[in-house]
Symmetry: C2
Subunit: 157 residues, 2 copies
């Protein structure tokens, strides 16, 4: 019994060390992470405040331009609520890369966003880029540890 | 010989699976990553252009506010050269967190920066936050895969 457990552990180690299987696992894992990024973008685009906050780990932080680091759900909820209150806000992002560590407990996505909203009757448009660091939770879901973004446009443009 | 190699591999797997040893390994690895973050900050602060660019992986990208994503050494060199040309530039950052994946091939740092420079005889100060995603190179060094930052200050402040 002990021997069979050791053999199983050894086989697992050999399998885990196989470049081909590791690459295949990476593809499946990165697809799941890309889906999490897209799922977050969808609830955010729909201005679903509770669902948007729930994508963030309890100890996660959102690093928005023009504001201090917002850490934890209460601060992030306040930040998102302020953003969602912008008149006629439209916001979407898409990941160009999703990478999961071989050990699977963290990963990151990066990509581009575009948004628009109205100020004094005029539509302002912005586009930019982001990096999100994700944590693989014990229930199998991915949650945001860090999210940071900035504009491609020069200030005042 | 084969058996001894298998035994060694198995012992390695058991050791690697030990929470205590894994935590110890994480501490050592995160210390090395924190040192890489600090080393990059030091050459950047000294405006050493070549050394600053060399901290970035050949396929790495720097995501600066007010500019498109700069990917690869040529684009990043141009971006950094523009920043270093700011009169009386002073810039430093410090990581508050450094995390290395258990599989060791990637990690991330996050922290705060502060900078100042002169415009038309007036000193402008800025402070903000950043996230850097790092790749563990085959030579054991850490190089930047993604670096992104933004200001804590409201635009125009």
């Amino acid at each position: 019994m002990v021997f069979s457990r050791l053999t199983a552990a050894l086989c697992f180690c050999i399998l885990a060390a196989s470049p081909v299987l590791a690459a295949s696992g990476q593809t499946g894992a990165s697809t799941a992470l890309r889906a999490a990024d897209s799922g977050w973008a969808n609830v955010f685009s729909a201005k679903n405040l509770t669902a948007s906050v729930d994508y963030v780990d309890a100890a996660g932080a959102v690093l928005a331009p023009g504001a201090p680091r917002a850490t934890g759900h209460a601060a992030i909820r306040k930040l998102f609520a302020g953003l969602f209150a912008l008149p006629d806000l439209r916001l979407m992002w898409h990941a160009s890369t999703a990478y999961v560590a071989q050990s699977r407990e963290i990963g990151y996505t990066t990509g581009a966003y575009h948004m628009s909203y109205r100020v004094k009757g005029k539509t302002l448009a912005d586009r930019g880029k982001y990096v999100t660091v994700w944590k693989h939770e014990s229930d199998g879901s991915w949650k945001v540890l860090l999210d940071i973004f900035n504009s491609d446009l020069a200030a005042g443009s």
